[in-house]
Symmetry: C2
Subunit: 335 residues, 2 copies
């Protein structure tokens, strides 16, 4: 197994140490946990926002902790949900008295463990709300979920809800913003090569040299179908043709675009994909408000990419533009 | 060859189209060239800064074009120097009347072609200065160079010189800042897997499943030696032990750190490396002023990383902190 690691059992804690050392102006780690919070957590009278999930999706989710985005992120083992007690620690650490919103990706383990943590927190008198992100249009159910999976669109939920909370909104209003994003965001991805699990050294699935896996998830689980690898433009069109009907996009609509690398895809290729995304949307008369190209929600060293579209209104556009000092989301508003 | 591309002959122009579509608030493309400039170029009475080189190193160099950093970047074919006429177009496009500084990585082709472009520009009455970056301590000469190669340390030259130019400094003062960075920056890298050239579909070198290539360059050229893959902490120490003597670091010194992924390395692994970098420097009594972890100077989908140290003084620290809207350098000052 070719990885820059020490002991596979220590990858999470060593990664978090290296992360905090790099970003200690913005974040801190709760001692003896895998919880990263804003440096100034808890922020009094502000709604706290917690997300998290298995590790291996970096920069998700700790990279999105900072002013104007998440208050806390909980890291599980690689592709494994964090335990309820860790999530509970995060909720307590970010509760500033205005309640806490949990942003959960739709995976059975995450939903169950975040729910248990919410119950523990409520028993201690902390007001907790939760939203479940399910932006992946590839599959209705998967080996990891009932219903659609939560993937890269989750970053838009973090950003919009985080900006709303920073503006002083109530827990119920922050939740409404998160739900608006969830209703209006859809994603689909493709993989060219699998990732390799640090614990086992095994590849997450098998692909022939001329094959791609369409409709891939972010846990190394197989996608919808294996197909012969085709040209970037054709792949882009295939993904958009699956995403757009789910959003019921019309000519007058405006969208934010994310072209997300799965971990090992050269930036060159992501920009080649983005070129076709923009051309295709322009031809349909859809306006693009924001474009994000890069690695936002990865699967270790999987090769491939996902395309996310978020239908935006003026309020969402403003929330995407709001300042954030989260290490992995530089509010690089473009266009 | 598993890549998200269309025709291998069109990867550069399609990438640049996708890049400009994503970042058109900050940058524009000179028609019929591979030159990306600031949106507002030329900036009157400001020193213009041009860099560039072969493609395949994204986000270098177009990602560093923006206010407070580069005025223009020229992209050659993959791992191939841009032609003198393209560099000449960039110089003309960013000349605001205060002269132009060329930041050149030390490769024989780049040095020759940028030099020819400088002569063309001087013949038209544009004042041009050049600096040559040679931060790679791995080799004294290589298949691509006489003298040390220019690698990830180049980003620090862009940032400091760009901030200096933005402050209104003269061409000679901007050049002095660039030279100060070049004297004080050193890098060394390691590769676990080679990259694959789009034109040929061939791997850039061969490595066995238990081997790494130490002292790798950024063009797929072999490094100093093949060694058995070791633990991340050992690799980190080996790289630092090579870099630090070249900088003559003392206890009272302060450095900026860059842990740079070569293209396909999971962020998890870069942070594990950073953990050891910080621990090692702290043990030596060296203070860290800034830490940058991510993909800054890549080699397509090569797996591996490089470590860069820049010895800083108060002026350089201020220049690293200065605002920049370059898409790939979000002035994420930390620590």
């Amino acid at each position: 197994m070719k990885k820059l690691i020490n002991n596979p059992d220590h990858v999470i804690t060593e990664m978090l140490d290296g992360f905090v050392a790099a970003h200690e102006q913005a974040v801190k780690r709760l001692p003896d946990t895998t919880v990263i919070t804003r440096k100034d957590a808890p922020v009094k009278n502000k709604v706290g926002i917690v997300s998290g999930g298995g590790s291996g999706h970096e920069p998700a989710h700790a990279g999105y902790v900072g002013e104007g985005m998440l208050d806390g992120a909980v890291s599980g083992e690689v592709f494994t949900s964090p335990t309820p007690d860790q999530v509970f620690e995060a909720i307590k650490a970010v509760d500033g008295g205005a309640g806490v919103l949990l942003i959960i990706k739709n995976y059975t383990g995450d939903v169950m463990n975040f729910e248990m943590a919410a119950e523990l927190a409520e028993a201690e008198g902390i007001e907790v709300e939760r939203v479940i992100v399910n932006d992946d249009v590839a599959v209705e159910d998967s080996s990891f979920t009932t219903g659609r999976r939560g993937v890269a669109g989750t970053i838009f939920v973090h950003k919009a809800a985080g900006a709303k909370a920073e503006s002083g909104a109530s827990l119920s209003d922050v939740k409404k913003t998160a739900e608006q994003v969830i209703r209006n965001v859809r994603t689909m991805g493709v993989a060219l090569r699998p990732c390799i699990m640090p614990a086992s050294g095994e590849e997450s699935f098998e692909l022939a040299e001329d094959e791609m896996e369409v409709g891939i998830g972010i846990h190394g689980e197989p996608g919808v179908e294996k197909k012969p690898l085709s040209a970037a433009d054709d792949i882009t069109e295939d993904l958009l043709n699956k995403i757009v009907p789910e959003l019921e996009l019309n000519q007058s609509d405006e969208v934010a675009v994310m072209v997300n690398g799965m971990g090992a895809t050269p930036e060159m290729e992501l920009y080649i994909m983005n070129r076709k995304v923009q051309e295709w949307l322009a031809a349909k008369g859809v306006t693009v408000s924001h474009t994000f190209v890069g690695e936002y929600m990865t699967s270790l060293e999987m090769t491939g990419c996902s395309i996310t579209l978020l239908k935006v209104d003026n309020e969402l556009k403003g929330l995407l533009d709001a300042p954030s000092n989260a290490p992995a989301f530089r509010v690089r508003k473009e266009k």
